[in-house]
Subunit: 263 residues, 2 copies
């Protein structure tokens, strides 16, 4: 039996470089598909094209909003090396290009080698002491009913007058029904939190992603992923959002996106 996330992001081969997928109802932010879900869908198809298990680095440019309904993914291998395979991807809905992608795929369990990690994983309360983002009238009730996202209490104050003022969103992520978190779910975790700008005094609104790049560095092994989202440079109409994702053993993924500042 397959979990809800695996089903929502499945890509079925139609022929060489052509894949069918579907934007499943509910994995949305107020009617538009969440960027992490469609990234995971496209990356699954691209990994199959590459015949490599892990999206070592994948970049998506978001060109059009995606609604519930059928999707197609087109993939093309640009270079197949022994270790790494580079693939371009296009995700379309109704014949219109919605996401353009470029990624390199490999096996992130294959190499050991030298190690030097600056452990700046933050310490904050465990999931049970954090605040669920799900509320029927709350932020993105569609998406937040599909996954389990918990925020550090002070970072959950964005709807109130007492928000921290810091462009930071810290918390925890897991899938429902004990569905194991695979490497593609770590792509979702990168884009599953409310925008960090929500905790500032700047206008809160939709911050459309222009581009998102994710590096997956280790396959998650824990039930919960720890996630920190930060924006340091909000100016000139753009902001960056840097996301770090850890499991119990350390970093699993890094994400950075460029988004438009809500006006």
């Amino acid at each position: 039996m397959t979990g809800a996330f695996a089903q929502a992001t499945a890509a079925t081969a139609d022929g060489p470089g052509h894949w069918s997928a579907e934007q499943v109802d509910g994995w949305d932010i107020h009617g538009n598909a969440n960027g992490g879900v469609v990234l995971a869908t496209a990356a699954r198809a691209m990994a199959k094209e590459a015949d490599r298990p892990d999206p070592v680095s994948v970049t998506a440019h978001y060109l059009r909003p995606i609604k519930t309904g059928p999707l197609t993914v087109e993939t093309e291998t640009l270079k197949a090396g022994r270790r790494l395979v580079t693939v371009s991807g296009r995700l379309l809905q109704g014949g219109q290009l919605a996401l353009q992608l470029l990624g390199t795929f490999g096996d992130i369990t294959a190499i050991d080698g030298p190690q030097l990690v600056v452990n700046d994983r933050p310490s904050y309360p465990p999931p049970d002491a954090c605040i669920s983002t799900y509320a029927p009238q709350g932020f993105a009730p569609g998406l937040m009913s599909k996954i389990d996202v918990r925020l550090v209490p002070e970072d959950a104050l964005f709807a109130t007058e007492r928000s921290t003022g810091l462009a930071q969103m810290r918390g925890w992520f897991r899938l429902h029904d004990a569905e194991p978190i695979d490497v593609f779910a770590s792509l979702l975790a990168i884009d599953a939190f409310p925008p960090a700008i929500f905790n500032t005094s700047l206008p809160n609104g939709w911050a459309p992603t222009v581009e998102l790049t994710a590096h997956t560095r280790r396959r998650p092994r824990s039930e919960w992923l720890q996630v920190r989202v930060r924006s340091r440079y909000i100016f000139g109409g753009f902001l960056e959002e840097d996301t770090e994702v850890w499991d119990d053993d350390g970093l699993v993924a890094l994400g950075r996106q460029l988004a438009l500042v809500p006006l």
Copy 2:
């Protein structure tokens, strides 16, 4: 009269979506073209294709080393919006694909809007008190003869036993002969420093870039750019390199790359 960097990264239209360029002798690291130079060359062609001045976000996957000699760039507009235009790019040498790119272009001077910046620009000695990277027998004498890179004294110790042990490289960047630093030169600045891993006790060697993403946020206005390169997660055969580039007024560009750890 055009400066050396502008000449080295020029792209001339051959026809719709086809551009001629050249990897000029000397802009290399021990015979292979520097990744920032070829990124700037391809981004210039893509910006012309987009008819927009600034590479808001551009990603390159590095597929083959590039040598001195002719290059061609192929560009295709994927979506032209009012404000932003998304373009794919291919840079070839001898008919072989060397760089695959994906970028979104716009005018980064066009919007003002809300602003919130966490100013963690580091304070360190001015260029005159820093150490030139150029030495005939030193690191990358080709590239370092073409540009003026100065390192904070303690970060210049990587060739000695007294290196800091920190995966960090801080310093300054400018072009020769007072050539103005344009937005494409900020792409070069992102990849012009010795790898941050050189200041650690890990094996030092070529750390081939798999993928590099740059966001340009403001056009540089100073003679000197201040640059900090850091790697926090060196493990599993990969490392990320995060680069921040500031001019006298603040951030101008952010870069992140995924590279292979020298073995």
